[in-house]
């Protein structure tokens, strides 16, 4: 065990691999080259189309102990990962690693296969029941939680080698040109799958919508794809994209959004060239809506919006608030429609989006990002991974990537959820280090990091309710009381990797 710079006890050796403890957001620099793929010769008229997933698994040469991946653009509607694990089990493969871009609640279907030893290691964060069971010690399934940028880095830098990437392709031709913009499982951007397509040893496109050559537009090209497999369906379209993402109607949430908007204005960043990212939560969308209104009132022409894209950002693009959208994932149906028709709505890879070890990412060009939080502590550290139960429930997404890249990272969160305070002495798990968070906005006040003294002074001048984060913490706890801390055992069941590959925190088994 080592103690990292945030005072967290983290293992240096975990299930046979060595890890470095987190030091700071900026200095870690591994000495390594980008990964490679074997050369492959394809002669004219050789067919890539295979009859089944099983055939693809055989062709890819998968044997026990190897690593597979899928992407999570189909989110909770995805059936591919479940079908794959079922097939691996039927073929008698064991001790496999899943290195998908995320695991969703729908993938709880693989729990029996985890118990059986078919899959025994998880090189990705998880959402839902699997995380809970891991936290309770009921599943022996070590989890490495990574951010979007961190995942791209781990694959490109060969910390994780994917033996076969199975890319769900909403629209695909027989050579493997594929995109996400049409077909029954259309999900828009395929940003998370790009890295797999470039660096996995073998790449299999799996589609439920095979079209005549050439499939266009080409997101991932035939030059990267080894084989093509068709399935009846890639998933449940209802669960792939939300038909709508909505602004919160909660008055407290709207107040938080208004404060956040005023913080952005006070920061001086809301001027021509403004670049911006929000999530798809109700408060974040309310901020986006306010910012859009202010940009129009002030006549500000922004430069780009990025991240997971919603209909609100599409409106901003079409109304001239942004020149470009950089889209790593479409959150709703309007984003999917837009990326298919508007050339200024650009699909980007998770690598370009956020990998700290490429030669320049989009997040580094962000002026401002709006982030959510499950907990924030008095050092501005943020937790989005574990819930109040102590269970690992959520993946990191782009949280720590955008916080590190943006000039100003604003966390918006209600001061309490249920009866629990959101501002804590110490977060249960550190997802994103406080060093990269500028402001925490709750309905009970705005806390500004000491790294932004000018912003703090300006907010005070504008008579906004600025409070020291400890004062905010005390005020909230005066109402909620101090919750009894969750008790953990010493068993480490998962790691939270920072985007640079160092270990920022560990997930321990909850003492029940």
């Amino acid at each position: 065990m080592a103690r990292n710079s945030l005072g967290r006890e983290v293992p240096e050796l975990f299930h046979g691999r060595r890890y470095e403890p987190y030091r700071d957001p900026w200095s870690h620099q591994p000495q390594a080259d980008r990964g490679t793929r074997p050369l492959v010769r394809r002669n004219p008229r050789e067919s890539k189309v295979l009859g089944s997933l099983r055939e693809a698994i055989e062709k890819a040469g998968l044997t026990s102990g190897m690593t597979i991946s899928t992407h999570h653009h189909l989110r909770n509607g995805d059936v591919l990962l479940n079908r794959l694990v079922e097939e691996l089990d039927a073929m008698g493969l064991r001790d496999m690693t899943i290195a998908s871009s995320s695991v969703h609640p729908v993938h709880a279907a693989i729990i029996p296969a985890i118990r059986k030893g078919v899959v025994t290691r998880c090189e990705t964060g998880v959402n839902g029941l699997i995380g809970e069971l891991v936290s309770r010690g009921e599943l022996d399934f070590p989890v490495i939680v990574r951010s979007h940028g961190g995942r791209a880095r781990s694959i490109i830098g060969e910390d994780v080698t994917i033996d076969a990437a199975f890319i769900a392709a909403p629209c695909c031709d027989e050579t493997g040109n594929l995109n996400g913009v049409s077909g029954p499982s259309a999900c828009g951007s395929l940003g998370y799958a790009y890295t797999d397509a470039r660096y996995a040893r073998k790449v299999i496109a799996v589609t439920d919508h095979l079209v005549p050559y050439p499939a266009a537009p080409v997101s991932i090209s035939q030059s990267d794809v080894d084989w093509v497999v068709t399935l009846d369906s890639l998933g449940d379209p209802q669960k792939i994209v939300s038909t709508t993402t909505r602004i919160t109607r909660d008055p407290a949430g709207l107040l938080i959004a208004r404060y956040a908007t005023q913080v952005i204005e006070a920061s001086g960043l809301l001027r021509d060239g403004f670049s911006f990212q929000t999530g798809s939560g109700g408060i974040s969308l309310a901020v986006a809506d306010n910012v859009r209104r202010r940009m129009k009132e002030l006549g500000v022409k922004g430069s780009f919006g990025c991240g997971g894209i919603t209909g609100y950002f599409v409106d901003m693009l079409e109304e001239g608030c942004f020149e470009t959208l950089f889209d790593v994932q479409c959150f709703d149906i309007r984003a999917v429609q837009s990326i298919g028709r508007n050339p200024r709505h650009r699909e980007i890879s998770a690598d370009l989006y956020a990998n700290p070890f490429n030669r320049g990412t989009v997040v580094d060009r962000l002026d401002c990002v709006i982030l959510g939080a499950t907990e924030v502590d008095v050092d501005f550290n943020v937790n989005v991974n574990t819930e109040s139960t102590g269970y690992l429930q959520h993946n990191t997404g782009g949280h720590c990537d955008t916080a590190a890249g943006a000039k100003l990272a604003i966390v918006v969160a209600p001061s309490m959820r249920g009866r629990l305070p959101i501002v804590r002495d110490r977060v249960t798990t550190v997802t994103t280090p406080g060093e990269t968070i500028g402001v925490v906005v709750t309905e009970r006040g705005i806390a500004v990091s000491d790294r932004h003294p000018d912003l703090k002074a300006e907010l005070l001048r504008r008579r906004l309710p600025v409070k020291d984060i400890r004062q905010l913490h005390e005020e909230i706890c005066a109402i909620t009381g101090q919750p009894r801390p969750i008790e953990f055992t010493d068993d480490v069941v998962g790691l939270i990797e920072y985007r640079d590959g160092t270990i920022i925190d560990a997930i321990r088994r909850v003492r029940e």
């Binding site: 008055p251 407290a252 709207l254 107040l255 208004r258 008579r463």
Partner: protein, 307 residues
């Protein structure tokens, strides 16, 4: 600044029986809050609401805004218990429903004086906002407004008023025009503020804006609200224009010069500046300060000159 002159653009109703909503009182930026023990609280919860409201007032000392309690009408069996439990917890004032006659206000005034004497508080600690919400109330509003020095504002209640008139309330509000005008006259004549009725459709921000613009033109100084989401729209309507602020600042400068010269009247670009003009300018500046639009220290001496 005296109680009478405080800004009361937005008075937000919060049900007295809902702890989740009470805890958010310090959060929203309404100028004032009215904790409701009357219509929002079902009969079975009157007791609980009183206890909760008193306990809230005792616990949350740093309220950051005026807090009124809307008690049940004085002729109900609940009113006495409301006052007995809530007053010792020191609300800023009482919103008195069904103030149909001046005698109703006088009775409350007497009851408040008794409590103040018993608790050793200065007489006049508790203020009153009578609700004018029936045909009778409208007819008597001039006398009602003058019935107590505790009155800081008159509130118009359009829902009960239209019920008493046996008419429907419309969004455009033609049917309320006479009643509203009379409430404003009475308020201005008595030197108190006038608070307009609630706008019950919390989803219709355009309708709320139109109604608020209308009542502002009539002379109302604020509005009762049913939902915190309405606060911003009403504040926006009452937000002074930059030109109004600039003019008000000029007026204050001019009157200061006049006083140095030993007079209370001066000409500003051909317009006469005297006490009423100064008073209106002071009101504009006070509102602008509340919006954070300017920093300006407004004292009685600035407004009225040295004694």
């Amino acid at each position: 600044m005296s109680d009478r002159d405080r800004l009361r653009r937005t008075l937000l109703y919060v049900p007295g029986n809902m702890p989740g909503m009470l805890q958010n009182i310090p959060v929203f930026e309404a100028d004032g809050v009215m904790i409701d023990l009357e219509d929002a609280v079902p009969l079975a919860e009157k007791d609980a609401a009183r206890t909760l409201t008193a306990s809230f007032l005792r616990t949350v000392r740093d309220r950051q805004r005026e807090i009124f309690v809307r008690i049940n009408a004085l002729d109900t069996k609940y009113a006495e218990a409301d006052l007995r439990e809530v007053l010792p917890a020191l609300p800023d004032g009482i919103r008195l429903p069904k103030a149909d006659h001046p005698e109703v206000v006088e009775r409350l005034d007497t009851r408040l004086t008794e409590t103040e004497e018993r608790l050793g508080l200065p007489i006049g600690t508790f203020t009153i906002i009578p609700s004018i919400e029936s045909a009778v109330g409208i007819l008597n509003v001039v006398e009602t407004a003058a019935a107590s020095r505790r009155i800081v504002a008159l509130a118009f209640g359009a829902e009960d008023y239209t019920a008493s008139m046996e008419i429907q309330r419309s969004k455009t509000g033609e049917e309320l025009f006479n009643a509203r005008s009379r409430v404003v006259w009475a308020a201005k004549a008595a030197g108190v503020q006038a608070i307009d009725s609630i706008f019950s459709d919390a989803g219709d921000m355009d309708g709320l804006r139109q109604e608020t613009e209308l009542v502002k033109r009539l002379g109302f100084t604020g509005k009762s609200l049913v939902n915190p989401r309405q606060i911003d729209v009403v504040h926006e309507v009452f937000r002074p224009k930059q030109q109004e602020i600039d003019e008000a600042l000029e007026v204050m400068e001019a009157i200061a010069r006049a006083r140095e010269m030993g007079t209370g009247v001066i000409s500003l670009r051909g317009r006469m500046v005297d006490a009423p003009v100064v008073k209106r300018a002071a009101r504009t500046l006070k509102t602008a300060v509340a919006f954070g639009m300017i920093a300006y220290e407004l004292t009685d001496e600035v407004i009225h000159g040295k004694e």
